[in-house]
């Protein structure tokens, strides 16, 4: 924690000549200030946004740094992939570093499909202005006539606003502009490129998983996300997105048999992943095609090895699609696990019946409720009619069907 402290004192020392009073705002120097993060209200954990604001709210404000979020994929992997993309897009906008691993699609393709951020109030951080100097004097501004005292103050707000805000909104109908995308630092792991020969060893871990873990560890060490490593001048968050772990393309037979040969491969990997996350400034989102995994007990232990666990249940292809109760939604969202971080009790979501829907531009999670029944056959009397029909019941109803009661 040495570096943030010193940097804070340095900036305040620089500001001193401009200050007219000796009073200064007391700064909480214990917290590391990284763009796109904020401390949790409940337990002070450093949180990052998942990119979906409603999901942040469900998870108690956001994802705590150092934790793993497990997403159980929906049947056709359309919505789980969307959440993963939201998570990565939020990383791009907050200028976090990304690590994307996939076996099915090339990680480059996933990155190219990221949704476009809606940045209406803040300036988009262009790669041209990469070296961000908050103390740079504003040269293009006209000299202030009235508030001349603030003329030489560093133009902090506008520079930081683009990245320091917590959680952004995205337009899924558009993809992110290439210049924003390219500004982000991005590490990729595409399994076919890393696996030269098929596995012959009998270790509990599969070759694919150990290669992934090794690659991730390398990135964490090399790029200075390790908490044990000496602090570099600025710290950043590594966002790890692992797509469709446990599917057959990772070489895992978890989803094929009732009694898989590599039964402990994924759980061993997740154990290692969690250890890596805990000791570094990184946060991971893992999607698993749980609908293919037959063994419920195994799925339970996979869930236990992650901190947060949510499951998506899409209505596509199920009889619920035709049910009028669900006609406003695209699927149900189940929160299976919330993290217990440095405490015994955890922040539980206040509502258990949750549903998600994909509007034209936005993915959102809502409380599941019955749609208002506006059809003709409803016997309920609306409030307006009640007011008019206090004196005589018969005269109040003016619908097509004349009913006295």
């Amino acid at each position: 924690m040495a570096a943030p402290l010193s940097s804070v004192s340095k900036t305040s020392a620089e500001r001193l000549p401009f200050n007219t009073t000796s009073f200064q705002k007391k700064t909480r120097s214990k917290l590391i200030s990284i763009p796109g993060t904020r401390p949790s209200v409940q337990n002070g954990q450093l949180l990052v946004s998942t990119g979906v604001t409603s999901l942040d709210y469900l998870l108690g404000g956001g994802l705590a740094v150092g934790t793993v979020l497990l997403i159980e994929e929906d049947r056709y992997d359309s919505y789980s992939r969307m959440i993963l993309k939201y998570f990565l897009a939020e990383g791009v906008v907050c200028q976090h570093e990304l690590f994307v691993a996939a076996a099915q699609d090339n990680p480059d393709d996933i990155i190219q499909e990221l949704p476009a951020p809606i940045l209406d109030d803040v300036a988009i951080h262009k790669p041209v202005e990469q070296p961000r100097l908050p103390c740079e004097p504003p040269d293009n501004l006209d000299a202030m006539n009235i508030a001349w005292r603030y003329q030489n103050l560093p133009k902090v707000q506008s520079a930081l606003a683009s990245s320091s805000r917590f959680g952004h909104y995205y337009d899924v109908s558009k993809t992110m502009e290439p210049e924003i995308r390219q500004a982000a630092k991005f590490h990729r792991f595409y399994l076919p490129e890393h696996l030269a020969q098929p596995s012959t060893t009998h270790s509990p871990m599969l070759e694919s998983y150990s290669a992934l873990l090794k690659s991730l560890q390398e990135v964490i060490h090399k790029e200075g996300f390790d908490l044990a490593a000496p602090m570099s001048k600025s710290r950043n968050i590594l966002r790890v997105g692992l797509h469709s772990l446990g599917s057959t393309l990772w070489g895992d037979d978890l989803s094929c048999h009732d009694n898989p040969k590599h039964r402990h491969a994924l759980t061993t990997f997740l154990y290692g992943l969690r250890a890596l996350m805990r000791s570094s400034l990184s946060v991971a989102v893992v999607t698993v095609p749980s609908h293919l995994i037959q063994d419920r007990a195994l799925m339970g232990s996979i869930t236990r090895l992650c901190d947060n666990a949510i499951a998506l249940e899409s209505f596509k292809g199920s009889e619920r699609e035709t049910n009028p109760l669900y006609k406003d939604y695209h699927g149900l969202l189940h929160v299976h696990q919330v993290p217990h971080l440095n405490c015994l009790a955890s922040q539980l979501p206040d509502h258990k019946d949750l549903a998600f829907k994909l509007k034209r531009k936005q993915f959102s999670i809502e409380r599941l409720h019955l749609p208002p029944d506006l059809s003709e056959t409803v016997s309920r009397v609306s409030r307006g009619e009640l007011a008019g029909a206090t004196s005589a019941c018969g005269s109040g109803t003016s619908g097509t069907k004349h009913l006295d009661f």
Partner: protein, 272 residues
């Protein structure tokens, strides 16, 4: 949607025809072979389930230079000296070589009859990996495979179908030669479309589509119309006769404020 698929699946597509013992999907597979041959495509068939003669029966024999059958029916495991094709050759390198043996300018369509045989002898992760590589590799344009769903565990079928871009699940229909196809198709932008069609196959393996049942909303509307009238058998009257209405209007409800009440209330006895 079945006719759309027969007209050609997109490059890099992987179609699975999923059948069971109650209805064989091989005839539908043959119509896909015929349709590909009609489009002047090169077709490679990996035959495990039936012999070459049986497979060729009914196909357009005039296009033999574009139809290549690699039969593994007689010797699937390579026990004799010179097997034509064995199940162990189901790897990307071997399959690419096989397709490249007969050079054509256009990439070929690979037909697998059936995936079930391969899945019995090769581990499912390896099969899925090969299928995925074939899709991405570019050696073949599209892959069409037959899968007997009742021969495998549910997870294996699910894993293979998870890779597919299109899935046709066939089942016997209500009438004699009719069959029901449940089609699931993923578009390029990850939109999933589903459809259910009743079809029958003619002698020359052309497909006749009888009816569609695509719109789930339509079903729902039908169900709503069938709803019984809730006012049909009531034990009380919903409507009042004129005399009853008159009587009801005359009735003074206790807590309704009226002129009489006002008069009573404004009497000096009350005001005191």
């Amino acid at each position: 949607m079945l006719t759309e698929l027969l007209q050609g699946i997109e490059a890099g597509g992987f179609l699975v025809i999923q059948d069971s013992c109650s209805y064989s999907g091989r005839h539908l597979l043959k119509s896909f072979i015929n349709a590909a041959l009609n489009r002047a495509e090169v077709v490679h068939v990996l035959g495990f389930d039936v012999s070459e003669e049986e497979l060729k029966d009914g196909l357009r024999t005039s296009d033999t230079q574009r139809l290549h059958i690699h039969s593994a029916y007689t010797d699937p495991l390579g026990w004799t000296e010179r097997p034509a094709f064995t199940v162990h050759q189901f790897r990307l390198e071997d399959l690419t070589d096989l397709v490249k043996q007969t050079p054509h300018p256009k990439p070929a369509t690979l037909i697998i009859d059936s995936l079930s045989w391969i899945l019995r002898h090769v581990t499912p992760p390896a099969v899925c990996k090969t299928l995925h590589q074939l899709r991405k590799g570019g050696a073949v344009r599209a892959v069409i495979g037959l899968l007997h769903a009742d021969m495998h565990q549910r997870g294996t079928v699910g894993s293979v179908c998870h890779l597919a871009t299109s899935l046709i699940a066939v089942a016997p229909g209500a009438k004699g030669d009719e069959a029901v196809a449940k089609i699931t198709k993923r578009s390029k932008f990850r939109k999933v479309m589903q459809d259910e069609e009743i079809f029958s196959l003619n002698g020359d393996f052309t497909v006749t589509i009888h009816s569609k049942r695509s719109n789930p909303e339509q079903n729902w509307n039908d169900a709503e119309e069938e709803q019984v009238d809730p006012t049909a058998e009531l034990t009380f009257n919903l409507r009042l006769s004129d005399s009853e209405l008159e009587a009801k209007k005359k009735l003074m409800l206790p807590f309704v404020f009226s002129k009489e009440k006002l008069a009573t209330l404004s009497q000096p006895a009350f005001l005191k």
